[in-house]
């Protein structure tokens, strides 16, 4: 059902956890539909220094969360914003068709976290 890469990221997820006082936090999904992804960003200057995630959901939800954290670490905000859900799925050697919509939301969570960071920065003036 899942590629070896998906199973690897599911069984050995990278960057699980939280960042205390994170610069940006993004969350997508809800418990009702069975997937919640939360991404924490530590941003210095314009660069993502550290990233962590917590996810409730299926194998694809966990694996895409893990993969997006690997893809984004060390990138600039502008680079991170170009990462799409499709690119995350591709980096995992693909996902089953029925998972492409419901569980492939990790890039959305990342973008939400960046949005949250930008809003905070704006508020600071």
């Amino acid at each position: 059902m899942y590629s070896a890469k998906v199973m690897d990221h599911f069984m050995n997820p990278r960057n699980v956890g939280e960042i205390p006082d994170a610069d940006g936090i993004g969350e997508v999904g809800n418990a009702k539909c069975g997937d919640i992804m939360r991404i924490y960003l530590d941003i210095e200057g314009n660069t993502i220094k550290d990233v962590k995630f917590k996810t409730f959901g299926c194998g694809a939800a966990v694996a895409t969360s893990s993969m997006v954290t690997e893809m984004v670490k060390g990138k600039t905000i502008d680079e991170a914003l170009t990462i799409t859900n499709a690119a995350v799925a591709e980096a995992l050697d693909g996902l089953p068709a029925n998972k492409m919509h419901c569980s492939n939301l990790a890039a959305d969570a990342l973008h939400e976290a960046i949005k949250n960071y930008k809003e905070k920065e704006k508020a600071k003036g």
Binding site: Y2, M7, F10, M11, P13, V16, E18, E27, A31, K32, C33, G34, D35, I36, R38, K54, T55, F56, G57, C58, G59, A60, A61, V62, N98, K99, C102, S103
Partner: protein
């Protein structure tokens, strides 16, 4: 790696005695049972013996058994066949919210095509109320279809009481007994059942075979038209090796049922109690004790998702199933759990273990050793678990 199969409600291995008997009817005794030559007649005799064996396990007469391609076909045959044959008498059908999709979807198809459907609710244990049913019966009700035991939560329905009620109101009563056959006693006469679906591959027989019990005197419009096999009820050359294997599986099930059920209950209770002792925030789904199939354990493990549990168990060689949406291919979790008024987020964390003949105490110990570690790992990742901890 140790491999532990705990998904017997999905399917079972074929008993070696059944498989070796079947092989004879593939390679040596391959005649068509409708042929009059000896090649055909030796197979005809074996098919008729199988009919006796199936009938004996459910307390029916052999000529009341029609072989089908499985449970789904038997459910379709019963519901569509009765609807078509009795449509002049009435157009109202009653079923329950926790039926297998082979029943529910067939009833809903009829509801879109001129019939009226009442879907009875269940209580939080997944059991239908006989009073609700009594109130739902109308003068134009032609069929009640209620399963004997539920495939997901193992809830056993009050079939004998429903049968009595159906008989009093002269309404036909169909029972899907796919999950109960071979696990608890089934008797169509004592339960006042008019039509009953049974399946082979859930009782250590081959896949692709089932049967519909049709009480003598009941009219039924066939699904398949053609060569007129099975007394014109089911045209198509008989799947003789499958039917013969099914017959043998029924004979073995009848002989072994009492002892096996007692052993399974011990393992079932050990597994359930072990899960409750070792993992917190667990909800038991379905009834306890004698209202539950002897081989079924179903729990919701809070703050984790079912497919993640299944994948993690599978990596350790343990096979189970879940009512999570992610494993059903739809966006909603199990219709059975939702009908039991379980919130979506708890239904997503449901886990079913269905035990079988070859499971041992060591298998259960292995699950009880591994499952708590899996749950801990997934909860460490779960934002819902964090939220709950913070709220405390």
């Amino acid at each position: 790696m140790r491999r532990v199969y705990l998904d017997h409600s999905a399917t079972t291995p074929v008993d070696p005695e059944v498989a070796s008997l079947m092989m004879t009817y593939y390679t040596e005794k391959y005649g068509n049972p409708s042929s009059i030559h000896s090649f055909g007649q030796e197979v005809r005799n074996a098919v008729e013996q199988a009919r006796h064996q199936v009938a004996a396990l459910i307390g029916a007469k052999p000529d009341e058994i029609t072989f089908t391609s499985g449970g789904t076909e038997a459910d379709n045959m019963a519901i569509l066949g009765v609807a078509d044959a009795y449509r002049k008498k009435g157009r109202h059908i009653i079923t329950s919210a926790v039926e297998h999709h082979a029943v529910l979807d067939t009833c809903e198809y009829l509801a879109k095509n001129g019939f009226e459907l009442t879907i009875l609710p269940v209580n939080e244990e997944g059991i239908v109320s006989v009073e609700d049913l009594a109130q739902a019966i109308r003068p134009d009700t032609i069929l009640i279809s209620i399963m004997h035991a539920n495939n997901e939560v193992g809830a056993i329905q009050p079939i004998a009481d429903i049968g009595k009620l159906a008989q009093e109101h002269k309404v036909l009563f169909h029972v899907d007994a796919v999950q109960s056959l071979g696990k608890i006693p089934v008797n169509v006469k004592e339960m006042n059942v008019d039509l009953m679906t049974v399946s082979s591959h859930k009782i250590y027989g081959p896949k692709g075979v089932g049967a519909l019990y049709i009480r003598k005197g009941i009219r039924l419009v066939p699904l398949f038209h053609g060569g007129g096999q099975e007394k014109k009820r089911r045209s198509g050359t008989e799947n003789a090796p499958g039917i013969i294997g099914f017959g043998k599986a029924c004979e073995l099930a009848g002989r072994r049922m009492a002892a096996e059920a007692a052993e399974l209950k011990i393992l079932r209770d050990k597994l359930l109690q072990g899960i409750l002792d070792k993992i917190d925030y667990v909800k038991v789904n379905g009834p306890l004790g004698d209202s539950r199939l002897p081989n079924n354990v179903n729990v919701s493990i809070r703050f984790v998702e079912g497919e993640s549990l299944l994948l993690s168990l599978d990596m350790l060689g343990i096979a189970a199933s879940s009512g999570s949406a992610c494993t059903s291919g739809s966006l909603d979790p199990s219709h059975v759990l939702l009908a039991m008024r379980m919130p979506h987020e708890i239904a997503h964390g449901s886990l079913r273990f269905s035990l079988g003949r070859q499971n041992t105490e060591e298998d259960i110990d292995y699950v009880l050793e591994q499952l708590p570690k899996i749950v801990e790992r997934l909860r460490m990742m779960s934002p819902l678990y964090d939220q709950m901890k913070q709220a405390q």
